[in-house]
């Protein structure tokens, strides 16, 4: 019984009953504790009951509570009889039975964990639920209380409660300096442009609201472009994934923007005050002389602030302006003419320069022809000797040529072989390095995957650890199973013993039966023989008489023994009954019942007294 009690107390503690440590069996349970534990169990099984958790002070209320508890248990399907007395005047066995029943009925924790959401949708729904809960619980405040329509909570979360500060996703082209270019170095002019004239991205957008969309767009656009470039080379099948038209549009867009950028930026710089002069001079340096530049500057000055000048001054300046304008026009005309002539001249020069190498070539040819002809004329006087000499020379040179060719062939073969070997080795190496690069890339990918996986696993681990910690340290479980196994073993042993005893008893019974049979038979035999002899013999007759008395005495004796056995058994039964009855501690309970009865009577008396006084006061009032 101890184990059962332990298990019951353990389960009760688990559902939140506060049972003191020294209570280790149901015998020590006070009625208050019994009621409290029973109410806790019922609360978990049927949360809608709503029974009070402690015994009320008033006797009648206690009886009512006991009765409703009993009713609830019966409704749950408790097999035995029960009433208020089961809880209020408890005896150990009944309480044990009730708690075993109730704990059996408690919902299993395993069922609870199954209900926990697992899938992505469930998680999403849960998250949405949480957000909604937060928003529903927050008190309403007028919209002017929020900065930019966003409500910030203490836990750092936020929710939007207004749309007044929204802006559409509108972007414009951005230009970002290319500082290090891997393939071809950035040219000096671009570098100069980046350093001196390109405004910050923050200043490139027309409106500050466009900055974020523009940056997002910039990033996405260049990624898409890169993907397209890398995809279009290997195979067309992958290319299909991205709409072709979109891509071409994108590419055109990007190209156009990079072309336009320069002029756009220049225009932009033009607008912004001081830089304009700098820039303009930079521009004009390339095309016009410095005088024109100052004129342009003057023009610019006058254009920028005509309003602030007094009228008189204005007139003067207008005259001056007229003059200057004429001058400028003159200058421009002169410059145009000069430029035209320069162009013509330079065109001529270019043509002449082109003609020059042709002429030089012709000259050289002519000189060579002259040298050959001169030598032939020199050789003409001694024609025969010279001819033979020439012939031998030709022959020797032919021989030389043949030997040279052989020599060349000798040198060429190994070199060619060497070249081929080197080429092969080179290609081998290239493929190997390609392979290695592939391997490195694969490894990198794998490393990233692994790190992701590790992160996932770590998260899972920490989650599991947290879960494990949240689960109460239920080390007793295995101990209990061991105990239960032991108990089962014991019971098996006991059963064997009982079987043995039963067998013994049976054998004994059989022996007794045999013996009685034999006794009967020997008695009849003896009886017959002596009876036969008794007709003739006096002694025999006496013997017969003695035999008869012996037989009847013996049977009486046997009967006595049997009766004793039965009585002993009866005594044992009675003793057991006494034990059971004493276990119910009727005496104590009776005392408590009578005490409670007395208290109730007192309460009743008090109530009647109260009623009476009330009635009297009422009477007085009515009088």
């Amino acid at each position: 019984m101890e184990e059962v009690d332990n298990i019951i107390i353990h389960s009760l503690r688990k559902i939140g009953c506060d049972i003191e440590d020294e209570i280790d069996s149901l015998k020590l349970f006070s009625p208050e504790l019994v009621v409290q534990a029973a109410v806790k169990c019922l609360d978990i099984i049927q949360p809608q009951l709503g029974l009070p958790h402690s015994l009320p002070p008033s006797m009648s209320a206690r009886f009512r509570l006991g009765a409703s508890l009993a009713q609830a248990c019966v409704d749950l399907g408790y097999p035995g009889e029960m009433g208020y007395q089961t809880f209020l005047y408890s005896n150990e066995a009944d309480v044990r039975r009730v708690f075993m029943f109730l704990i059996e009925k408690l919902p299993k924790e395993a069922e609870k964990s199954i209900i926990e959401p697992a899938g992505r949708t469930e998680i999403l729904v849960k998250q949405i639920g949480e957000v909604l809960k937060k928003q529903l619980q927050s008190p309403w405040l007028p919209s002017y209380c929020w900065r930019r329509g966003v409500r910030w909570r203490e836990d750092g979360s936020w929710s939007r409660e207004g749309c007044g500060h929204h802006q559409p996703f509108s972007s414009c082209d951005l230009n970002i300096p290319k500082t290090v270019n891997l393939k071809n170095d950035v040219s000096q002019a671009w570098c100069e442009y980046y350093v001196r004239y390109l405004p910050l991205v923050t200043d490139q957008v027309a409106n500050r609201r466009q900055l974020v969309p523009s940056l997002i767009n910039f990033n996405e656009k260049s990624i898409a472009l890169k993907e397209r470039l890398s995809l279009s080379v290997p195979s067309e099948s992958i290319c299909i994934k991205i709409p072709q038209r979109l891509l071409t549009c994108l590419v055109q867009d990007v190209e156009k923007s990079s072309q336009l950028d320069f002029s756009q930026q220049l225009m932009y710089v033009n607008d912004s005050g001081e830089k304009s002069k700098l820039n303009q001079s930079a521009l004009s340096d390339k095309f016009q002389n410095s005088q024109v530049t100052t004129a342009v500057q003057n023009l610019d000055d006058i254009r920028t602030d005509p309003t602030s000048v007094a009228l008189m001054k204005q007139k003067q300046e207008e005259e001056q302006l007229e003059k200057t304008r004429e001058e400028v026009e003159n200058f421009v005309e002169v410059t145009k003419e000069t430029l035209l002539s320069v162009k013509k001249l330079s065109a001529k020069l270019a043509q002449l320069n082109e003609d020059l190498p042709g002429e030089e070539k012709a000259l050289k040819e002519l000189e060579e022809r002259y040298a050959v002809k001169k030598r032939t004329y020199d050789l003409l006087p001694d024609a025969e000797a010279n001819l033979s000499k020439l012939q031998s020379m030709v022959e020797s040179s032919a021989q030389k040529l043949v030997s040279l060719a052989a020599q060349w062939e000798k040198h060429r073969a190994p070199l060619l072989e060497q070249y081929r070997g080197a080429k092969e080795r080179n290609s081998n190496k290239a493929s190997e390095s390609q392979k290695q690069a592939d391997a490195v890339r694969a490894l990198k990918e794998k490393a990233r995957e692994l790190s992701d996986e590790i992160r996932c696993k770590e998260q899972l681990h920490s989650q599991l650890v947290a879960e494990y910690e949240s689960i109460s340290k239920d080390t007793k479980r295995s101990a209990y199973t061991r105990r239960i196994m032991e108990i089962i073993g014991n019971i098996r042993k006991q059963k064997e013993e009982i079987d043995k005893v039963i067998n013994d008893t049976r054998e004994l019974q059989k022996e007794i039966n045999n013996l009685t049979g034999r006794l009967d038979r020997s008695f009849t035999d003896a009886d017959e023989r002596i009876f036969r002899d008794a007709k003739k013999d006096e002694v025999a007759r006496r013997a017969y008489k003695l035999l008869a008395t012996l037989h009847s005495d013996c049977s009486e004796l046997v009967q006595m023994v049997e009766e004793t056995g039965a009585t002993v058994r009866e005594i044992r039964d009675l003793e057991e009954q006494i034990e059971i009855e004493s276990a119910k501690n009727v005496g104590a309970n009776l005392e408590r019942v009578s005490a409670d009865l007395k208290q109730m009577k007192q309460e009743n008396a008090a109530l009647t007294a109260q009623l009476k006084s009330k009635l009297q006061s009422n009477n007085v009032k009515t009088v």
Binding site: L124, Q127, I128, V131, L132, Q135, L136, S138, W140, R151, S159, R160, E161, C163, F169, V212, P213, I216
Partner: protein
């Protein structure tokens, strides 16, 4: 309370006083036609030929009758008042009965029209709502933003005709939705409050 008419109005109606009951009934029909479809000069022409008067006179009589009805409705005359008013205008008992029946018949309709005639602010017609959660946008790809989108339909009422008005698409968040509901519920409760009821009882 008696209906007091202007002199020229009386004069317009006066032609009916001398007519037979059958003719008066025809005039009632004419004015009903007028209420439904507006003036019909052709009918007036033929009526004028029958009665041997100018069409103008017929028209004035019909319009006078209609105006009489509208005035009676506007002042919410009861049957007795209407009867007395008709008698003082010089109609006979038989005439009065025809007019009373006509008035009784059309009273509700005219009242209804007059009721909705007063103001030109749009009326609430219908509300459709849908609950949605914004999970991502181009600039923020992971978010949970619950939104309630509503379509508020309004209509304009010109007399008994309802002209479909604006359809507004609005949205709000749960906090504001709860607030909006509470505010409007308060308004609804105010209509049933003691104060409002007392007011309605005293100013009848």
């Amino acid at each position: 309370m008696l209906l007091i008419l202007q002199d020229d109005h009386k004069q317009h109606i006066n032609i009916l006083v001398t007519q037979s009951e059958q003719v008066l009934q025809d005039f009632c029909k004419l004015s009903l036609e007028y209420l439904k479809r507006g003036p019909n000069p052709k009918l007036y022409q033929s009526a004028a030929q029958k009665l041997n008067v100018q069409p103008e006179v017929i028209r004035n009589a019909v319009e006078g009758l209609v105006h009489l009805l509208i005035r009676s409705c506007k002042q919410k005359l009861n049957d007795l008042d209407f009867r007395d008013s008709m008698l003082t205008l010089g109609f006979s008992e038989a005439h009065q009965e025809i007019l009373s029946a006509f008035f009784e018949n059309k009273k509700e309709e005219i009242l209804n029209v007059l009721n909705n005639y007063s103001h030109d602010l749009p009326h609430f017609k219908d509300l459709e709502w849908r609950f949605e959660v914004q999970l991502a946008s181009r600039s923020l790809q992971h978010q949970i933003t619950p939104l309630i989108t509503m379509k508020l339909s309004l209509e304009n009422r010109r007399g008994s005709v309802a002209i479909p008005g604006e359809q507004l698409v609005l949205q709000t968040d749960p906090t504001n939705l709860v607030h909006l509901t509470q505010v409007l519920e308060e308004a609804l409760l105010e209509a049933r409050s003691q104060h409002t009821r007392r007011f309605q009882r005293y100013i009848k």
